[in-house]
């Protein structure tokens, strides 16, 4: 199976499995090796990278919510130069393509970043992240500069602004649209008692973004693929995005709660699961059980439970 997740043309990216980790989820590819099988995913998307180093945000970073949470990291990273130096060997050894997530700060930054990125063979494509505060004009200038890249360019749109930005971004040369970055929200941090802002994650985000995907699929040119992202927590969630018109999906925070879920969604949509029969290869369809298999070892049998 080869699925083109970017616009056909001079630069195009095909993946074997239409399931990717969202930027910020898996780090730079070296962290989750022991918890999931990256080869079951379509590509690795890296953590967000900026041209110059960024510091972590101060204050509350994680606030639990009902069936979700708020996260504000400030996108700390050591800057593009150092990231490339540190990880390009790791990336070369991966069996799947690497998509670098580049934070879209300004047009001049983008020109410089793209020149550097073109030199790195281990990077197959770039995903551009746009700020929530960015106007249509800003966005176009940033995309235009990033278009200097000689690799496929995916553009990830902010949640609230995506209806406005999608068509202009496609016209400006985005090879794929990622809908959307996690929505921003404000919550009361219970520890400090202060209102604090960040991104909101949880299953309830999915209905809103799924609708945006359905609507935008009917509005933007058919040759620009849409990649759905937001609130995916099960293979069925991922399939819903595909049905709504996405060519592939990105899974974000669910990976932290259930790392194997990302792999399981990859196996499912990548056609890796051949059977779902009971007593079929355990590793294939209960991949999350790892090596423990406590279930078999010690669970009270069904019958015992029934006779209580």
């Amino acid at each position: 199976m080869a699925i083109e997740i970017t616009r056909p043309g001079k630069y195009s990216l095909a993946v074997g499995t239409p399931v990717l980790p969202a930027a910020g989820t898996l780090g730079f590819g070296d962290r989750y090796k022991r918890l999931l099988d990256l080869s079951k995913l379509g590509a690795l998307i890296t953590n967000p990278v900026t041209l110059v180093p960024w510091n972590p945000a101060s204050g509350a970073r994680v606030v639990p919510l009902d069936a979700g949470f708020l996260l504000h990291t400030g996108l700390p990273n050591p800057g593009l130069k150092k990231v490339i130096r540190q990880y390009q060997n790791t990336w070369s050894r991966l069996s799947i393509p690497v998509i670098l997530h580049l934070v879209g700060t300004s047009a001049p930054d983008m020109l410089r970043a793209c020149a550097r990125l073109d030199e790195v063979e281990a990077i197959a494509a770039v995903e551009l992240g746009l700020s929530d505060d960015c106007t249509v004009a800003d966005a176009l200038a940033i995309i235009d500069a990033a278009r200097s890249l000689e690799k496929p360019l995916l553009v990830r749109l902010p949640f609230f602004e995506c209806m406005q930005l999608a068509l202009p971004a496609a016209d400006a040369g985005a090879d794929a649209l990622v809908l959307t970055a996690a929505p921003r929200g404000t919550v009361r941090d219970t520890a400090s008692g202060r209102l604090t802002s960040g991104r909101v994650y949880g299953p309830l985000v999915k209905p809103m973004i799924l609708r945006l995907v359905g609507r935008l699929r009917r509005q933007i040119p058919a040759d620009v693929p849409i990649i759905g992202c937001g609130g995916i927590h099960s293979p069925q969630d991922a399939r819903d995005y595909i049905e709504a018109g996405a060519v592939a999906v990105q899974v974000d925070a669910a990976t932290w709660a259930q790392p194997k879920m990302l792999e399981r969604i990859g196996r499912d949509l990548g056609g890796w699961i051949a059977t779902r029969q009971r007593n079929a290869l355990l590793d294939e369809w209960h991949p999350d059980m790892g090596t423990t298999e406590a279930l078999q070892r010690r669970m009270p049998s069904e019958d015992q439970a029934e006779s209580n």
Partner: protein, 252 residues
């Protein structure tokens, strides 16, 4: 670092406020050490049919190891657990704390926090005849400690964070580990550090540590939500921590 399953083997109420859970865990957790923790999620038989509230894994510090594959954790008694409950565990998370070789007197401080994250080292240290002082400060003064080993010297601080013999306790200590106010850990560490500095002018490296207990989204260095600033650059609680030398951690 692995994802494995465990189940709750036994539940004991240890006093009015706390219960201890014996977890039957995977062998890969047999060598967990003081400072390391588990990222825990309750699961049902069908892993997919999950409840998403709470969403993130909880950070559980073991307080004791029993048999090779039994880890004990301490939880509020009002938390409803049942024996047989299945858990999904990512761990061990973090690096072991670094105790001095020639440790004779250790000072443990819990400020507004349950001391649970400090308890795993008690048995090994008592076995080595190290004298242990546990100071409970602020809200932690309410912690019911009747179930802790008797050999432990227990001090409940006064309102102002001081206590009788504070100067002596601080003078004798070879090493200090501090737990801070949840959500305000750095501010809390800064307070304790000021207190210690006011009694000991020179703080050698690897003498006083703060142990972070923030909720960790990923627990393995991917999300960067747990980053802290140190004089040696950015560090991650989940990889380099949870214990950081308070003289190098940037506390502002």
């Amino acid at each position: 670092m692995k994802e494995t399953q465990a189940y709750i083997e036994r539940i004991r109420r240890v006093n009015r406020e706390y219960q201890r859970l014996d977890l039957a865990v995977d062998d890969s957790l047999a060598n967990i050490q003081a400072g390391q923790a588990l990222l825990v999620r309750r699961i049902e038989k069908d892993y997919e049919a999950e409840v998403w509230d709470p969403y993130l894994r909880e950070l559980w510090f073991p307080v004791e190891a029993q048999a090779r594959s039994i880890l004990v954790v301490e939880q509020r008694a009002r938390q409803p657990f049942l024996p047989g409950q299945l858990l999904s565990i990512i761990g061990p998370v973090g690096s072991p704390i670094r105790l001095r070789q020639k440790l004779r007197n250790i000072l443990l401080i819990a400020h507004d926090s349950s001391p649970a994250a400090l308890l795993f080292m008690l048995s090994p240290l008592l076995a080595r005849d190290v004298s242990i002082t546990l100071v409970l400060m602020g809200a932690a003064r309410q912690y019911e400690a009747s179930h802790l080993p008797e050999a432990l010297e227990l001090i409940r601080a006064e309102d102002n964070l001081g206590w009788n013999d504070m100067v002596m306790t601080l003078g004798w200590a070879d090493q200090i580990f501090v737990l801070g106010t949840p959500g305000e850990e750095l501010a809390s560490f800064a307070k304790i550090l000021r207190l210690v500095r006011s009694r000991r002018t020179v703080l050698p490296p690897r003498f006083i540590y703060g142990m972070l207990q923030r909720q960790l989204p990923c627990g393995l260095g991917a999300c960067h939500a747990c980053m802290v600033n140190t004089r040696q650059g950015h560090k991650l609680q989940c990889v380099d921590g949870p214990a950081f030398d308070l003289t190098t951690l940037r506390l502002e």
